[in-house]
């Protein structure tokens, strides 16, 4: 383990965080919340100082990044990012307990959107902006952002991108990691801008439009008003629903569109499956909840909004879906687990993995009938390496293990089964609200601090695709490599 490079990148992350904090500072300034301006100013100074110290001390002795260091960097960066990001909430006294502030920040960066706040309106504009902005930053990933800005000499930075981008098999769009990262961010920024403009045209207030766009783009889901979505018009809700769905699509799809390869884009199996699931689930739920609305248009609108919100793991809600019939709830929990496409900003297991898993199962059955057959699992017409199939299966197994483990730990809190179960599902899949006690109209504030820490861990594990966070817990990861021996001959 080479500590030099790890600390160097962590230092860079701290400095970037200082940069991110400028936005809430500016917002607070606009709304004349001068004590909040002060708090964010202090936090920026803290981040800058820590960052500078780390970067300056490790500038000289950093070696190449190996896969192990890449994984450690990703895990630690997100931890550091959340620990520092929680400071403003804590220092301003808006969230009195640090663990609550940490939970809220982790929930922001991991684009979960679970909140411990009971009254969002009581929070300052600066802090509300910061909450939503963490979604946007966390959506595409901080390290991808870092990659887009820092020059990288060799392929070692690819390890970072692989560890941070969601999906079973990360492929580059263009030969250079840096250019790939830039493309991703430009697509991200472009789509964010379009949504913002549409919301403003639809007559939304600037502050709401900006914060909700950040929440949608990162598929996060922090509400910015205590009243939730009731105050927004159907058109505004509709725009958000469509953009949630769009941000859940694999960004390779948009890259192909930009490159004019429409045929290839619309042949992406994962995207087709994803859209298919949305249509099918929406249809079934509309039928089941139709009696509650008695108006087909409203039924479709609210169901589509909810499905789009939950499959992309955003977590916005226009209605209390907690009250819907069982079939609807079960389907909703199912799509929570399926999640969005790989290579999008959404969470969950990812449609691509489900695709591969199902095809793997079909292949197994096929070999039962034809024991000697040689068959390859294919995706988008090309065979998939056995490694990818294997790691997909391992991922899903690990997912279930962490899930069950977390449910057991959170159940110590003494809440009912549905609350416990969906609290873990909602955080591990980075959705936000669960059902019952943590449903869309309630929040996580009543859970114990221990449960909050477990759920924070789940959120990080879910966002970083399990491995980087689990690896941090393995002792052999931390063996510091010996320094190369000095050449005695000189």
């Amino acid at each position: 383990m080479n500590l030099g490079i790890i600390l160097y990148v962590l230092g860079m992350v701290c400095m970037f965080e200082a940069g991110f904090l400028l936005l809430p500072l500016f917002t607070a300034f606009l709304y004349q919340e001068y004590n909040i301006v002060q708090v964010y100013g202090i936090c920026i100074v803290i981040c800058m100082v820590i960052g500078l110290i780390l970067v300056m001390t490790t500038r000289k002795n950093r070696a190449d990044m190996k896969p192990k260091e890449g994984v450690a960097i990703v895990g630690l960066s997100w931890l550091v990012l959340s620990l520092l990001g929680a400071l403003p909430f804590f220092l301003s006294g808006e969230i009195p307990h640090y663990i609550d502030a940490f939970f809220e920040t982790v929930s922001g960066f991991t684009t979960t959107g679970s909140t411990i706040l009971t009254d969002v309106d009581a929070m300052s504009y600066g802090s509300r902006m910061w909450r939503s902005f963490t979604h946007w930053v966390g959506g595409m990933g901080v390290l991808v952002f870092l990659l887009a800005l820092l020059p990288s000499k060799n392929g070692s930075f690819m390890n970072l991108m692989m560890a941070e981008s969601p999906g079973p098999d990360v492929s580059k769009l263009v030969p250079k990691v840096r250019d790939t990262a830039k493309y991703l961010y430009w697509i991200y920024i472009g789509m964010t801008a379009i949504q913002l403009i549409l919301l403003l045209l639809a007559g939304m207030q600037v502050f709401d439009a900006v914060t909700l766009t950040f929440g949608t783009a990162g598929t996060g889901g922090f509400a910015v008003r205590s009243s939730g979505f009731e105050d927004y018009t159907i058109l505004q809700q509709g725009i958000i629903a469509v953009f949630m769905m769009l941000f859940g699509i694999n960004f390779n799809f948009y890259f192909l569109l930009i490159k004019g390869k429409l045929k290839d884009a619309f042949k992406m199996e994962e995207v087709l499956t994803y859209l298919g699931i949305i249509v099918a689930v929406t249809a079934v739920i509309v039928i089941s909840v139709y009696p509650m609305f008695n108006n087909l248009f409203y039924a479709i609108h609210h169901v589509f909004f909810t499905v789009s919100s939950l499959i992309t793991t955003t977590g916005y809600a226009t209605v209390d879906f907690n009250l819907w019939p069982s079939i609807a709830l079960v389907l909703l929990v199912t799509i929570m687990f399926i999640g969005a496409c790989a290579g999008s900003t959404g969470g969950g297991i990812k449609v691509g993995r489900i695709n591969i898993m199902v095809k793997g199962i079909v292949k197994e059955f096929y070999t039962l009938f034809h024991p000697r057959s040689v068959k390859k699992v294919r995706m988008d017409g090309r065979p998939i390496a056995h490694d990818v199939v294997r790691s997909t299966n391992v991922f899903i197994a690990l997912y279930l293990l962490i899930f069950v483990g977390s449910v057991i730990l959170v159940s110590l809190n003494g809440k009912d089964l549905v609350t416990t179960f969906t609290a873990v599902a909602a955080t591990l899949n980075n959705i936000g609200p669960g059902l019952a006690g943590v449903g869309p109209m309630s929040n996580f504030s009543e859970l114990s601090y221990f449960s909050k820490l477990v759920l924070s861990f789940d959120m990080l594990a879910g966002r970083l695709e399990l491995l980087p966070i689990i690896m941090l817990l393995i002792p052999s990861m931390w063996k510091v490599s010996r320094k190369p021996r000095q050449n005695l001959k000189g």
Binding site: S152, K153, N154, P175, D179
Partner: protein
């Protein structure tokens, strides 16, 4: 530049790595997924699995927008064909590796007909390099410029040599030889020496000058270019084939030893001027019998790197003659440097270097007049070859009045096929080629090397 490389063997890999550090967009095609996977982990390139003669694979690799396609698979014909296909997809330039000697010189005409920009033959390059280094005295190496018309020589300063403690400006006066010391390597660091730079033992000095003066200089520092007449070579492979052809019309005689009767038969048929011996080249007695000790040079060219190294060490110890060793696979450069081997030739490196030089010259763009770029002294120094073809360049201004950037030096002027050692009063003329030595990177024209607005 956008570059597509087909085949990621040793050469493909090292070229991909080099081009990547020079900030080109590289895509590698290979049909071995494992190899590609390893490559993608270590180098920042895009990898595409597939065959280089499949149009879809080529298009997926971006051949439609690529500037350069390099064919480096293990098969000559596949390389040629894939280059042709890549060209049809829209690649601007193509480089192809062709190794089969049977194509002969015809291959260059073939390349022209097929529209291929460059054909590279590692074994032939190696033979050329061997031929060139045979002309040099022991413990001197050289690098060729201006298609062989100019060279930069590297000499090591030994303890007790005339050069020891000599300031660079005193070399011409003291040794009566008009040469220029342009780079000094000391303790792995490269310097561009000014006049007061004092040479120390163990320094490696690079010098330029016209060939008569350089020969004069070698004899002054007691490095006599021994006339090489009798050469012994072990291993009658492709390199030997090209080398034999090169010495056909010289006065050098060659004893070629190989263990394989069929190979010997073929060599004897094709190269009547060479004495072919069938026998084990690693047999001490055979080497003695054939008169190793009366030879002027020994070349080991077998397919086994270890055997080549041992044989050369043996020859240098027994007969104290110049040895040339072919190494293909072994990477331990530092270890090889520390051994008592005169010249080590690596066909794969030569091939990679030639391609890199081509790319560097192209990458400068159309406006650039850089013809070739050589990296010297462990990449710390660049030697650039410029063609003076633009009237806006500082023509007819004495060099002493040109304000060049720090660490930059005009090392040689080639005018009418003659190399001229530049002195302060010399001027550049239209059509000259110059060699510029610099520790700064990234010059793409002569203007880049000048301090701002100094010559207007």
């Amino acid at each position: 530049m956008k570059i597509v490389i087909a085949g990621c063997g040793k050469v493909g890999r090292s070229i991909a790595e080099q081009l990547c550090t020079e900030n080109h967009d590289v895509t590698v095609i290979d049909n071995n997924p494992e190899r590609l996977h390893n490559l993608a982990k270590e180098i920042d390139v895009m990898v595409i699995e597939g065959s280089a003669i499949n149009r879809e694979t080529l298009i997926e690799a971006g051949c439609k927008e690529a500037n350069l396609f390099i064919g480096l698979t293990g098969n000559d014909e596949l390389n040629l064909l894939s280059a042709l296909l890549a060209k049809r997809c829209g690649v601007e330039q193509t480089i192809v590796r062709v190794r089969e000697p049977e194509y002969g010189d015809e291959v260059h005409d073939l390349a022209r007909d097929l529209g291929i920009s460059m054909i590279i033959n590692p074994e032939q390059e190696a033979a050329k390099e061997i031929f060139r280094s045979l002309a040099l005295p022991q413990s001197v190496s050289s690098e060729a410029f201006c298609s062989g018309k100019a060279e930069i020589f590297k000499v090591r300063v030994t303890t007790g040599s005339v050069l020891e403690n000599l300031p660079v400006k005193d070399i011409p006066a003291k040794l009566h030889s008009n040469i220029l010391a342009c780079i000094v390597e000391r303790n792995d660091k490269a310097y561009i020496p000014d006049g007061d730079f004092v040479l120390k033992p163990k320094d490696i000095v690079s010098i330029t000058g016209n060939s008569a003066e350089v020969r004069n200089f070698f004899s002054k520092i007691h490095l006599k270019p021994t006339k090489i007449r009798r050469i012994m070579a072990v291993g009658a492979g492709k390199v030997a084939h090209y080398f034999c052809a090169m010495i056909r019309n010289t006065r050098q005689s060659l004893i070629l030893i190989d263990n394989n009767p069929k190979v010997c038969e073929k060599a004897a048929q094709e190269q009547p001027h060479v004495t072919v011996i069938q026998g084990n080249g690693a047999d001490e007695r055979l080497l003695q019998e054939e008169g190793l000790e009366e030879m002027d040079a020994f070349i080991s060219l077998t397919g086994m790197d270890e055997e080549n190294i041992i044989l050369s060490l043996y020859a240098s110890q027994k007969a104290h003659i110049k040895t040339i060793t072919k190494v293909n696979r072994i990477e331990f450069d530092e270890l090889l440097d520390s051994l008592d081997l005169d010249t080590v030739i690596n066909p794969k490196h030569l091939c990679a270097d030639a391609i890199i030089r081509y790319v560097r010259a192209q990458a400068g763009g159309i406006n650039s007049c850089v013809e070739t770029v050589h990296k010297m002294a462990k990449d710390q120094v660049e030697a650039l070859e410029f063609l003076i073809n633009d009237p806006k360049l500082p023509i007819d201004i004495p060099l002493k009045d040109l304000a060049l950037k720090n660490g930059t030096l005009v090392a040689l002027i080639v005018r009418d096929n003659k190399s001229i050692l530049p002195r302060g009063n010399d001027c550049l003329k239209m059509g000259d080629r110059i060699i510029l030595i610099t520790t700064q990177k990234g010059f793409s024209s002569l203007q880049d090397a000048l301090k701002e607005r100094s010559w207007i």
